[in-house]
């Protein structure tokens, strides 16, 4: 199993560690998921997300390959811009969902999910007949997410110039070379910092020392925060069989690029919804949704919402389901009426 540059820190701070797709990462610290979740909603938290992968496409030939697999229009992006999108197959199905960072005119840095690094590399290798020009530098970098309302002012002592949403800077800050982007996976104001492994502990402690209101958070809070923010997670809302159109994410595939992925004519087969349960029950991944006693879909992610104090979930349901009529979620042989909520659950 892989570890991160911060694994010794997590272990010495009594984190509960799990094997997350072959990387040892903290689920939560002694404070617990609820306290960590609330800290990010009200103050600030830091997360070790070093399992995320860094793929560079450097030079015009590599960029040409990127153009044929990324949903993002990289030529429409300006330097220091970040865009969300997908690595797509020619049939429009999703290999991964990714952030694309335009580092300079002839280079992009693509951030892929840790669980998908090998799959993406294999796909690119096949797609370009063994001549993929991508450079996988995932093992060289650590990633720390710095999230929560207090980050807006706290970041100034690291990066003095304000960053717009979905932009980044690359430079040396407090003596450490890093990429700092105004992105995140919590629905809060926040930043993600990418640095060489050797600098990870320095940055981690630098962030903790900014304020006593910054606390370390694990993957448990990260998952409950992203779910409240209505953000999809690969392996749950997204997978190898679905296209972005199937999960209401067509907006991230520009119309003029859809022909590259067979998505021009393609109709969505499913839709992604968010719902709450007003009973005391928690929807969990895999639970079935029914309408008129017929199966119409399933829960893709579900949890107890720390903020709403109710069970919330995202689900994938058949495209033809009438949302005006009652849909029920089956939990241990009992059916509960769902209340569909326009995502995100937490509006900021």
């Amino acid at each position: 199993m892989k570890t991160t540059a911060l694994t010794p820190w997590h272990e010495s701070h009594h984190a509960k560690m799990i094997d997350f797709f072959n990387t040892l990462l903290p689920v939560h610290y002694e404070t617990g998921i609820i306290a960590e979740h609330e800290a990010v909603r009200t103050h600030a938290g830091i997360f070790d997300v070093s399992h995320m992968g860094q793929l560079f496409f450097k030079g015009e030939a590599a960029l040409n390959q990127a153009r044929s697999v990324l949903s993002q229009d990289i030529d429409a992006m300006v330097k220091n811009q970040v865009k969300y999108g997908f690595i797509l197959r020619e049939d429009g199905t999703m290999v991964d969902d990714v952030l694309c960072m335009k580092t300079c005119d002839d280079e992009v840095l693509v951030i892929v999910n840790g669980a998908n690094i090998d799959k993406v590399m294999t796909y690119l290798d096949q797609r370009f007949n063994g001549s993929a020009l991508v450079e996988n530098e995932s093992d060289d970098y650590s990633v720390i997410a710095f999230q929560g309302p207090l980050t807006q002012t706290l970041i100034h002592s690291i990066v003095p110039t304000p960053l717009d949403y979905y932009t980044f800077v690359h430079g040396t800050f407090n003596g450490v070379e890093m990429f700092v982007s105004r992105t995140g996976y919590t629905g809060e104001h926040g930043y993600e910092l990418i640095m060489a492994n050797k600098d990870a502990l320095t940055v981690w402690e630098m962030l903790l020392n900014l304020s006593k209101d910054v606390i370390p958070c694990g993957l448990g809070a990260r998952d409950s925060l992203r779910l409240e923010a209505g953000m999809p997670l690969y392996g749950h809302e997204l997978n190898d069989d679905l296209t972005p159109l199937d999960v209401n994410l067509g907006i991230f595939v520009p119309k003029h690029r859809r022909h590259l992925f067979g998505l021009e004519e393609r109709k969505p087969r499913f839709k992604r919804i968010g719902f709450v349960l007003n009973d005391k029950a928690i929807p969990r991944e895999g639970y079935v949704l029914t309408q008129h006693s017929k199966n119409v879909g399933f829960v893709s992610s579900g949890t107890f919402s720390v903020t709403l104090k109710r069970g919330i979930a995202m689900a994938i349901i058949n495209a033809d389901v009438n949302l005006e009529e009652t849909i029920e979620c089956v939990i241990r042989n009992k059916s509960y009426s769902i209340e569909i909520i326009k995502l995100p659950f937490i509006k900021k």
């Binding site: 689920v27 617990g32 998921i33 609820i34 448990g220 998952d223 029950a281 928690i282």
Partner: protein, 127 residues
């Protein structure tokens, strides 16, 4: 961390039973169980007059992350459930050996249970 209470009997699945009188028993979950679950946010309680059987599931406990089955260390009929868990499920985290889930009129077969020494050994071996 992971304390074991003397005088209680345990299932290897981390539930405890405490004998109150000849035929009445209190049932809860161990300190190890509440640590493993993390923040408990919901307890799907059984109902009074339900019958329970030693070794069989009688309720679910949910944390933010997951749902877990809870097994009964005693056989008999439920005479009382701890309704304070409906609104304050976190009590199970705060005081695992003081907070019970159900009171049962029935009997235990100690050959199928672990005493505190055996349960301590079980925790050391398994985890």
């Amino acid at each position: 961390m992971n304390s074991v209470k003397e005088g209680y009997y345990y299932l290897s699945t981390h539930e405890w039973v405490k004998q109150e009188s000849d035929t009445t028993f209190l049932v809860g979950i161990s300190d190890f169980a509440q640590h493993a679950l993390g923040d408990i946010v919901y307890v799907a309680l059984p109902e009074v007059n339900d019958t329970v059987k030693q070794g069989e599931r009688f309720c679910d406990v949910e944390s933010v992350k997951a749902v877990s089955d809870v097994y009964s260390p005693v056989s008999g009929t439920i005479t009382e459930i701890n309704t304070s868990l409906e609104d304050s499920p976190e009590l199970l985290n705060q005081d695992p050996y003081g907070v019970w889930i159900m009171k049962v009129e029935g009997s235990i077969d100690t050959s199928g249970l672990l005493d505190s020494a055996a349960y301590t050994l079980h925790l050391e071996n398994e985890h």
